[in-house]
Amino acid sequence: MPVAAPPVPFIDFGNTAWVLISTALVLFMTIPALALFYGGLVRRKNILSVMMQCFISMAVISLIWVAFGYSLAFGPGHGALAGIIGGFDWAFLKNVGMEPSPYYISQSTARIPHIAFMIFQMMFAVITPALIIGAFAERIKFSAFLVFTVLWSVLIYSPIAHMVWSADGIFFKMGALDFAGGTVVHINAGFAALAAAIIIGKRKSKKAAPPHNLVYTAIGAAMLWFGWFGFNAGSALAADGLAASAFLATHIATAAAAVMWGLLDWLLHKKPTMLGVATGAVAGLVAITPAAGFVDIMGAMAIGFSVSVVCYFFVVVIKPFFGYDDALDAFGVHGIGGLWGALLTGVFATPVIQSAYKGLLYGNPNQLKVQALVSLTSIVITFFGSLILLKLIDMVMGLRVTEKDEAIGLDVSSHNERAYTLVE
């Protein structure tokens, strides 16, 4: 009696369409969304420098990713390092082609091309270091920024992505849950940002300058919200019920966090602010990222409402108390929000969404322990790794522009340009 042959994976057009458009959406998150979100917050004389950093990250990290970044992160590892970093087997996309991707989630056979997975992940590799820009905005030297971003991507991003997402990865094997990058992207970038704010030091200007264009910031936040559907729901790697569920969880957590930040502003400073609601939305997006494919709407609401409280506290109270100059709150929002989301994933993951995964609330306290352990280990790696890296760069080439160049503004002093003319 013949045994049925195992079903053969094939490229599904619907899933591929979904992952390709999601990839475009994640590109959109870095440029123009993040560039606008951050760019609106800085002073007029520095907006182009921030946008430039976003653009050049997109260009440079993409090239590195196909050269060997992807291989290091997702490629097969070797020997003792297999759990920590991949090898060079897939360097320059050797063996990464149009065949069904070895990475997938729910469908065993209706897959996407391997290159689609690779380029989707590329956009994550780009946006992660770009988030750090918020910490050292308005004072970093462009050349130092470039060196830092490239080295950080190779030395810190690729290993952490490997540990969490590769089938070989040590965190993956421990059962860590990170649907779309709470640890890999947000904790990672956020604690690197803290290191960066500490190492580079405060901006020189005597007082905090107000954001030069909150319209840009609001547009940027809206575009991040839009693009994040690709980030989170695209991480289902298929256009199925799980994708729809991740889409929904993302949206609800974001809505809850936006409302909560608005309420806190209202309670504590008498009026709700647009910047607050936009910041809350981003905090919600950050926190739901690891949980998007594991929680239902109750979990999403709990994560959304709570993350704004936590991040608000860090941004408005802790930061001024310690006095580090995390210029655009990359640490306060991404670091703290990512950590919060990673932990709560271990609480609210429900078997209703993916039957294999459940958190504390559904009788599996161990998941929370794993989440805590993995988050803390990642924090240690990224924080100290970034600290050392930045210190070295500072010693070799200097991290900061001169005081005069900072005063003049980076647009003119680093890029020979001005964003706006003054007369017609």
């Binding site: 905090a208 107000p210 954001p211 009026k271 910047l275 608000y312 408005v316 001024p320 709150d329």
Partner: protein
């Protein structure tokens, strides 16, 4: 001939212009400036940080008049701009040595209006 510079609240501009028209003063030059006066400026908060720069948005009017128009003009500005609260603004007056209408090359008093 006198030059009058008035710094007023932006939201009184319409009232001031109206009062000036009533006083038959129709010519002026307007710009947006930041004023630092006695008015306290804490009305802006960004991520919990109060904007303590207290440089507040103001409107600057520049009005050249013949001497007999000086007082009516000042009265009109005060009428339009005064609310009695801090920040209402100030009026400064200079002597004007000359005035030239570019179109006609007329000079002096006749060119002002």
């Amino acid at each position: 001939m006198k030059m009058i510079i008035a710094i007023i609240q932006p939201h009184r501009l319409e009232e001031v212009k109206e009062a000036l028209y009533e006083a038959d003063v129709n010519l002026m030059t307007v710009s947006e400036v930041l004023g630092h006066g006695r008015q306290l400026g804490v009305t802006e908060i960004y991520r919990g940080v109060k904007e303590s720069g207290n440089l507040l948005r103001k409107i600057r009017l520049e009005i050249a008049v013949n001497d007999n128009f000086l007082d009516p003009t000042i009265k009109a500005i005060v009428k339009g701009a005064k609310t009695g609260e801090l920040g209402d603004g100030k009026i400064f007056v200079y002597d004007l040595k000359d005035c030239i209408r570019i179109r006609t090359e007329e000079r002096g008093s006749v060119a002002i209006g």
